[in-house]
Amino acid sequence: MYQAIVFLPLLGFLIVGLFGTSLGAKASEYITSGFLVIAAILSWVAFFQVGFGESEVFTVPVLRFIDSGSLQADWALRIDTLTVVMLVVVNTVSALVHIYSIGYMHHDPHRPRFFAYLSLFTFAMLMLVTADNLVQMFFGWEGVGLASYLLIGFWYKKPSANAAAIKAFVVNRVGDFGFILGIFGVFVLFGSVSFDAIFATAASYAPVEGAHEATAAVFNFLGYELDRGAALTVICLLLFMGAMGKSAQVPLHTWLPDAMEGPTPVSALIHAATMVTAGVFMLARLSPIFELSHTALTVVTFIGALTAFFAATVGLVQNDIKRVIAYSTCSQLGYMFVALGMGFYSAAIFHLFTHAFFKALLFLGSGSVIHAVSDEQDMRKMGGLRKLIPTTYWMMVIGTLALTGVGIPATIIGTAGFFSKDAIIEGSFVGHNPAAGFAFIALVIAAVFTSFYSWRLIFMTFHGKPRATADVMHHVHESPPVMLVPLFILAVGALFAGVIFHDAFIGEGYSEFWKAALYILPENHILHDFHGVPVWVKLAPFAAMILGFGVAYQFYIRSPETPKYLASQHRGLYAFLLNKWYFDELYDFLFVRPAKRLGTFLWKTGDGAVIDGLGPDGISARVVDVTNRVVKLQTGYLYHYAFVMLIGVAALVTWMMLGSTF
């Protein structure tokens, strides 16, 4: 069964990738979507078997991957609760996105390629989440990066899409560099890349109370001799660097908003629900290592909180409907990292789980909107669409309710975000690390902003007077059922995933559900503590949500002039936010332009003038010079020829004479 879950998408990719053009678009769509639906159903079966059954962690061997000296890496599927949660998320969203794309990509001439890429991505993501060792995980990690690159640049004739694809790839390289160094470090430290072996040895690295004498150095990093604890921290930070790249955390977040150049279903699948959560998954998977490094967890918390806050502020002023949701994704990923940093892994995965539903819903919903208004993405040119596309409107509202975490505090009535997001905020209040206080404040403020920009999106798009041209408004139409049905399914998840599963993920059923998949130190009591926070802390996210909604209602329904007035009053702040805190400009100045200058120098001067000039070009030019002179020697005059012969004899004779006398 597990082989089928993992390899059906690969099969779909191979069939459609190789024979797609001859099969035709229809067959390609049905093959890939059919396989994915089967895989998704099997994933749910696996989810209930493993999560709510008796089975322990087990591995399904596939083949021997690398066996070189002491480095051994099998290709095996590691099945535990964490894996099946990810299987459900990936395959469900992927199957729905496949189906949705049948409608959304209807006009595109390259549908077989698109569906092949989608299935390739799904396979790579499954490789990542089922990985039994770090090498296999890295394989999946790079595979999703590749598929992401291909899909962002799917419309390769658009220069902006190509630029975005390259940007995503390059920025991810930075993170991957850290990740691969981390893998090397793990191998040096533990002598293995297999999770079982690593986790078994990791316990001996636990900080021992009172053992202050410096232990023997085990690791040399950049010239520093590190003892066990420090080595572990360095490795964790390197691995986290990979996670930052993949999960778009500050300062490696810049590629995610640009990635919206890809088709909207891609944004929903890769850049909201699955790939970007790979970093979260990786940290959760490696919880037995991360749990031992207090420093690394503090950094994770800090970066997560910073990203949550930063992305939320930028989301306030964006006008592109997909970019708003992209920043929202970035921000929500920040929440997950805060939870990881607290050692609250289950909450992070829970939020990952619920977020997949409502964020995919929002993306696919916005895709439906874009589809309706003739591929317009600027919200300033929308408005008043509620009456025309009511189903899409209500789906978007459900997504927004879930994202903002609507629910009644102290009860179990609420949307998915109400359970997962609020748990993280409460967890950050009781967390024991130096960044926890900052994280709590940042997350609450981010919650206000989240609520504000989410409702701003709804109001600007669906309410008010139409701002699109009459021509566009005339063509507005509800999407076909093939696009709406996935929305319904996701909406069900967005509404009820929290209430159904919160007990298992973070509540009473924790240990039966997770079993040994996640590791926390015995002295980590966050699971217990977050229930006992003061009432005002429990009410804080609720209040934040209400406040954000109220402000948005005031700004965009009651007095639409206020935002413009504010923007003109605080021009500097507005520009600062609109330009995304000038991160892109800063990178452009620090990295891109010097790199280009260096490249131009090496190209023009180094390669063009020096190497080519003295090498190939120079030599060939000299050869031509010599040739021209030699050809001129051949005058055609007999006496010249005779003269040359005599000169030749004279030269030889002279040479012989001198040779004999010297």
Partner: protein
């Protein structure tokens, strides 16, 4: 008839067959007039084959006529090559003769006479034999070069060749007289015996220089090459094919024999000369060919360059070196004949063409021709695993073994430069816009081109036996 004369005559029988045959054919031609051309050509080829076969089957080894004539494995090897060159070029001339009003029966007769001269050159063991053979060969060639007497270019070529040839003969004769003056002998063995005891005399070295200059003229080594491009371009194409093949074999054999026997004791001196003309030939051949537009002229420079490469082996003055020269000449002969078969087939409705630009897009119009010429050009450029690579490999190997590193390095660099113009022909054939194909190839040309291509392509499979034969030939001198 004394037994000694009898054995001498039997050793020289192939030469006698050809000489006698030439005279008989002359009579046939005279009495049957213009129509006789194809008959005479056919008989001439038969005579050449017969002489070669007799030599291979019954020819012994030994010295004749009082040590002025020698037959040994090296001579047989080079004579076979030379006879192949003569016979094949005669065969290839048939179609051309018909098409271009070139059907003169004197042509095969002259070829036969020049072949006799070349066989004498190869077998010469005395300065006088050498000179007589060389002159017999040259006189026939002077006439052949100008045989198309209505063409200004052909007569100009013949005249230039004659004047410069006379000059080189004078140098050769002057050199021989100097050598005779300082050693008192004309026989190669006697000269070597005299030199091995004596001190190095400057006058003798002068003689050496002049003798080698005379021979270098025949193999068109720089700086005695100036006639080559003009004659190659001006002479009718079958004549050019002959010039590029058989006389090169004979003159190179003579060069090897004279340095390996008569001047063996003063190897240090002639090695310097050979190195000099070898480098000059390789470099000039490579550079000057780049500027050419006429394919025959290009082949002239190509042959200059290849002679330079072959001399690399001689400069080593070792057994492997001589073996390298022998193999080089064999492979060069095959490649040259194949290439000229192709050039002879460059025919359109309005006659033969010779410009390299006429080859444009040949891969679409005549894919088979283009493919084989591509193989030949790659081989001439020395690209492995084709025959041309092994030819260069053996001579450079010999040079390295003899510690002539500078020579080998310059040779390799020159072959890199030379590769350009061979590759340019390939590029023109495969990547340029077609300018119209050629007429279908005549059967004999097709055969020669195909055989040449196959030899070059599959040489790697039978290179071993060929190498052993060449080694046996080279053993003659060691």
């Amino acid at each position: 008839m004394t037994p000694e004369l009898y054995s001498s005559l039997s050793l020289a029988l192939p030469e006698l067959i050809i000489a006698g045959g030439a005279l008989v054919l002359l009579m046939i031609g005279v009495y049957s007039g213009e129509r006789a051309n194809s008959t005479v050509t056919g008989l001439a080829v038969a005579i050449l084959i017969g002489a070669g076969a007799w030599m291979l089957l019954f020819g012994g080894t030994g010295k004749a006529f009082g040590n002025v004539f020698v037959s040994d494995p090296f001579a047989v090897f080079m004579k076979v090559l030379m006879l192949i060159g003569s016979a094949v070029t005669l065969v290839m001339s048939v179609g051309f003769a018909k098409a271009e009003k070139f059907d003169k029966f004197e042509y095969p007769v002259l070829i036969l006479l020049s072949t006799v001269g070349m066989m004498l050159m190869i077998s010469a063991n005395d300065m006088i034999t050498l000179y007589l053979g060389l002159e017999l060969q040259s006189l026939a060639l002077y006439v052949v070069a100008a045989i198309n007497r209505d063409s200004v270019r052909s007569t100009e070529a013949g005249l230039k060749y004659f004047v410069l040839g006379a000059l080189s003969s004078g140098m050769l004769l002057y050199g021989i007289s100097l050598v005779y003056g300082y050693t008192g002998h004309t026989g190669f063995d006697a000269i070597a015996a005299t030199l091995s005891g004596a001190d190095r005399q400057l006058g003798l070295v002068f003689g050496l220089v002049f003798v080698l200059a005379g021979v270098a003229f025949k193999i068109s080594a720089v700086p005695f090459h100036m006639w080559t491009p003009d004659v190659y371009e001006g002479a009718p194409t079958p004549v050019t094919a002959f010039f590029a093949s058989a006389p090169k074999m004979a003159a190179m054999a003579l060069m090897v024999r004279i340095t390996m026997t008569a001047f063996e004791p003063i190897a240090a001196d002639w090695q310097q000369i050979v190195v000099f003309i070898s480098i000059a030939s390789m470099v000039l051949g490579s550079f000057a060919a780049i500027g050419q537009k006429n394919i025959k002229r290009l082949m002239a420079y190509s042959s200059i360059g290849h002679v330079g490469f072959a001399l690399v082996g001689l400069a080593a003055n070792t057994e492997t070196g001589v073996r390298g020269v022998a193999i080089y000449m064999l492979i060069y002969l095959v490649m040259t004949l194949g290439t000229f078969a192709f050039i002879l087939a460059m025919r359109r409705k309005d006659g033969n063409v010779e410009q390299i630009s006429d080859l444009a897009g040949l891969s679409t119009t005549n894919p088979m021709m283009a493919t084989i010429l591509t193989i030949l050009m790659f081989s001439l450029a020395g690209i492995p695993p084709l025959a041309g690579f092994w030819a260069k490999w053996y001579v450079f190997l010999a040079a390295i073994n003899a510690n002539l590193y500078a020579l080998a390095i310059i040779g390799v660099l020159a072959s890199v430069v030379g590769a350009y113009y061979y590759l340019r022909i390939i590029k023109i054939m495969w990547f340029d816009e077609p300018v119209g194909g050629f007429l279908p190839m005549a059967g004999e040309l097709r055969l020669v081109l195909g055989a040449s291509g196959a030899f070059v392509l599959f040489y790697v499979f039978f290179g071993g036996p060929v190498g052993r034969v060449a080694e046996a030939a080279a053993k003659t001198f060691f």
